[in-house]
């Protein structure tokens, strides 16, 4: 792997940019790997990367049915924050946020992490109490957040209407080091680093079956032949239930569509991320000037990557009331992703009933922010059989009634 640098850009400029290497290789699958990861989204690629970097395990394949980063990793609204209520959540999300701070340097790939600040509006008394509680919890967890006044909200976001008739802004939970990053670049940066360690990233390779001998996994069946492995990591977001079916166990997960949209580009008007969970909408401005908008998930099981129009309408209605100046904006694009929802709105990073099969899923509407931390912890779990970061997120927590309840804490989970 040739390093990217200012010098390299200058050198290539002098020779018509003919010297750039491909960022990652496209090898044919081998017969056998120590570890196979299914799904080349952010979580799968980060897992592979930390398996290599932290544990020296590099005989690894990442199998992807489409193109890498083409799942939810390339479809999300890129909000990064770690202001969660429960200790185990704060730990893994803050680990991730911390890794994001230096990820561009670590990967030698500009992921455009922009800690511009994330603001979650409190628009009911209930939300005020909830966020004050979260701010206290965050203080104990070592996550820097604070509860701020409506006037401070207006200072930070001049385009906001804080005295709307129905849901006036009563304050906000403010995380100054939250923000956004370039989603594709996160997938691409990890992929490039994995490829450089000698791992095989195999695109257009769909896993169609999981083979086992007794209770132990032996490999996978794919549209490009059978591939053997000692350990298998399933990291397929919305398709987790489908893959669990193949392995022969069930998950407490349902797959639904979540949509987002962007407007035409306009001049810079808002330099923080604003989330309004009561009215169900959130917005930030991309570097290109587009307003990036998202809302709540659709209400029924769906694998189509298309959502229902009335959810877009609801989101836009809420945001127009909160930001009156956007009422004349034209929307450019709208899309959907299939998100994997658990009952307690927390992820599952766990061993499974099949020996050698591990699963990382349930990130639902909010797992972009956690990619580095999840990969870090899940790689440790796969390599050593235990990780302090993931321990609480195991599959047994449902049976044991040990929920990590973030649904009450956030309302909307992004």
């Amino acid at each position: 792997m040739k390093r990217y640098s200012a010098f390299a850009v200058a050198r290539e400029a002098l020779r018509y940019h003919m010297g750039w290497d491909r960022a990652w290789a496209s090898p044919e699958p081998k017969k056998k790997y120590d570890v196979i990861i299914v799904g080349a989204g952010g979580h799968g690629l980060a897992t592979a990367y930390y398996l290599g970097k932290n544990f020296g395990i590099t005989n690894v394949a990442v199998l992807e049915k489409g193109w890498l980063g083409g799942g939810n990793t390339g479809r999300n609204t890129t909000i990064i924050r770690s202001n969660y209520l429960q200790d185990s959540s704060a730990a893994i999300y803050e680990k991730a946020r911390g890794l994001y701070e230096t990820l561009s340097q670590d990967l030698n790939y500009n992921i455009m992490y922009s800690p511009r600040g994330v603001m979650m509006l409190a628009q009911t008394q209930h939300e005020v109490r909830g966020y004050e509680r979260t701010a206290h919890a965050n203080a104990l967890q070592g996550v820097a957040t604070e509860f701020i006044s409506p006037n401070r909200v207006k200072e930070l976001v001049p385009i906001i209407n804080i005295d709307g008739p129905r849901y006036p802004v009563l304050g906000a939970l403010w995380q100054p080091r939250g923000g956004t990053a370039r989603h594709d670049a996160v997938a691409w940066g990890y992929a490039r680093a994995c490829s450089a360690m000698g791992m095989d990233i195999i695109q257009k390779c769909e896993v169609t079956g999981i083979s086992r001998e007794g209770s132990k996994v032996t490999g996978v069946t794919t549209n490009r032949g059978d591939i053997a492995c000692d350990k298998l990591g399933i990291v397929v977001a919305g398709h987790s239930g489908h893959l669990a079916d193949m392995a022969g166990f069930r998950l407490p997960i349902e797959s639904v569509a979540l949509q987002a949209l962007v407007s035409e580009p306009i001049k810079p008007c808002m330099d923080v991320v604003v989330m309004a969970n009561t009215v169900h909408g959130y917005m930030s401005q991309s570097d290109k000037g587009e307003m990036v908008i998202g809302g709540g998930a659709d209400g029924y099981n769906n694998y189509t990557q298309r959502g229902s129009f009335h959810h877009v309408e609801e989101t836009v209605r809420a945001l127009v009331e909160t930001f009156p100046m956007i009422s004349r904006l034209k929307m450019l694009r709208q899309w959907g992703g299939i998100v994997d929802m658990t009952g307690d709105r927390s992820p599952i990073l766990s061993k499974t009933p099949v020996e050698g099969v591990f699963i990382n899923c349930g990130w639902g509407t909010g797992g972009f922010k956690s990619i580095p931390g999840s990969g870090w912890g899940f790689a440790e779990l796969m390599a050593k059989g235990h990780s302090p970061l993931t321990a609480e997120f195991n599959l047994d927590r449902f049976k044991e009634g040990r929920f990590i309840d973030e649904s009450v804490a956030a309302g909307v989970a992004h």
């Binding site: 398709h239 489908h242 079916d245 998950l251 349902e254 099981n301 694998y303 189509t304 009335h310 049976k399």
Partner: protein
């Protein structure tokens, strides 16, 4: 946009009139059942990629619950039927078989 027909009042309307209620035909396990069964009943979902059976409520209409048979890959609705049953009726199963030969869902096929 889904379009469903409520079998209780006969109205055909778009999804904003209805409210999804999750997986149908769940067998209840209560006090006295094993931990496994209770856990399965409460948490384990079928979440299929394909034929699915769901509960829906005609929330902004007659208010009643009913069942729908749907494909989660194409969003095609195979049919709706009364909730007063523990198993999809034969005509619904036949309709699905005509379009998705070899389908199965939990113990139904």
């Amino acid at each position: 946009m889904l379009i469903l027909t409520c079998p209780c009042c006969g109205v055909t309307a778009e999804e904003t009139e209805f409210h999804g209620g999750g997986e149908a035909h769940i067998k209840r396990f209560g006090p006295g059942s094993s931990d496994e069964d209770f856990h399965g009943y409460l948490f384990e979902k079928v979440n299929p990629k394909g034929v699915h059976f769901e509960r829906w409520r005609h929330a902004n209409g007659c208010g009643k619950w009913f069942h729908a048979a749907r494909c989660t890959v194409t969003l095609e609705v195979f049919g709706t039927y009364s909730a007063q049953t523990t198993e999809p009726p034969q005509d619904i199963k036949d309709k699905i078989s005509a379009k998705r030969p070899g389908w199965s869902w939990r113990e139904f096929a």
